[in-house]
Symmetry: D2
Subunit: 115 residues, 4 copies
């Protein structure tokens, strides 16, 4: 998260928003933010969202996620908004959308585990 300069914009129970400023060195061959970086932001947002509903002493790990890349991640800010779909005792399922300057650019559905 520090490598890519991410910032926590909003936190409430089950919902988290994160953003990063555009950086030249996070782009792929076409000048867009690399899919792996967009995934990192989405995954981090899902992890934090899951964490807001877990017991205080627990920590959170990603089990798996699926990402659809919907549009080039181009703009001055890339943000992600994650929401818990279902919080279980062990597993928490989250969905998240990523936006490039407010335009939907990717979406994630993922599973987190607490330990």
């Amino acid at each position: 998260m520090q490598l890519i300069g991410a910032r926590l914009d909003a936190v409430e129970p089950g919902v988290v928003e994160i953003s990063i400023p555009f950086r030249e060195d996070l782009t792929q061959q076409d000048g867009f933010i690399h899919a792996g970086i967009v995934t990192t932001i989405l995954d981090s947002a899902c992890g934090y969202a899951a964490f807001t509903l877990m017991p205080a002493a627990s920590s959170v790990l990603s089990v798996e996620f699926k990402v659809n890349l919907l549009a080039p991640a181009k703009g001055s800010t890339i943000s992600a908004r994650a929401e818990v779909k279902r919080a279980g005792r062990t597993l928490t399922v989250c969905s998240a959308d990523a936006f490039a300057d407010g335009k939907l650019c990717a979406t994630m559905l993922g599973t987190m585990i607490s330990r």
Copy 2:
């Protein structure tokens, strides 16, 4: 769709709702509707939702989908609500939720192709 007795409950541009009545022969070992049947309903809802935004002469095929099973699909009616996340020229990405008697039991994120 006829095998499982599905019914189209609502259609608007980019959004479709489908439901099936509970049937003993669609259950797995615990008496819940089988994950494959829940997937069929979710996939059908996504396909129809994508189709509402495609040119008239086209047909729709599923490229891929991911399903999270969130709770046992148990109840008198299983319904699914699909929504287009992004409609492209070739590919359309949809998300869908399935409900057992109104309770969220599964969620899908999938990609459809028109041809």
Copy 3:
């Protein structure tokens, strides 16, 4: 599984093969086996494969899966071969391929949970 007439063809630790004979009533609008049925076979194969590596008293549930549909599921037999990628204490990850008369028609990557 009984609804679709599935048969267990091979079982070894971490690997399972299942097949179903073609049936008219399992097809979609183009005469191919419906994606949901192919998913059911793949999911069942993954569940059984995971189960072969679990303690005797446990039962297995699907947490989530992703399916890519690669070719029309058309032919006299649809089979699936699932393999455990990683067996953990709680979660088991499996991959599976489906074949229509021996031709690869779909592939799954999924997560199973023991309880």
Copy 4:
């Protein structure tokens, strides 16, 4: 790819291997390589693998991918091996495994598009 210092280790038609040396600044809170970075390597390997089977003038984009994180990505080298499952005219489906010092740590199933 330059940001994370990736190296192309092997290329043949439909198969590509990539690796990165461990770097402190690519880790998450537990000292393991971040899931987003592992995803970047897997996604890049899939993209290159798909590209080996595409016409010369085309370029490749990721449509979507699913990743299962199987073990902590800890070690001096993280590598990925991607393989084309099916190469179509428009869409190519790839699977890939990631290894931390040779130990399986993540697996991907994804869809690439040529344009």
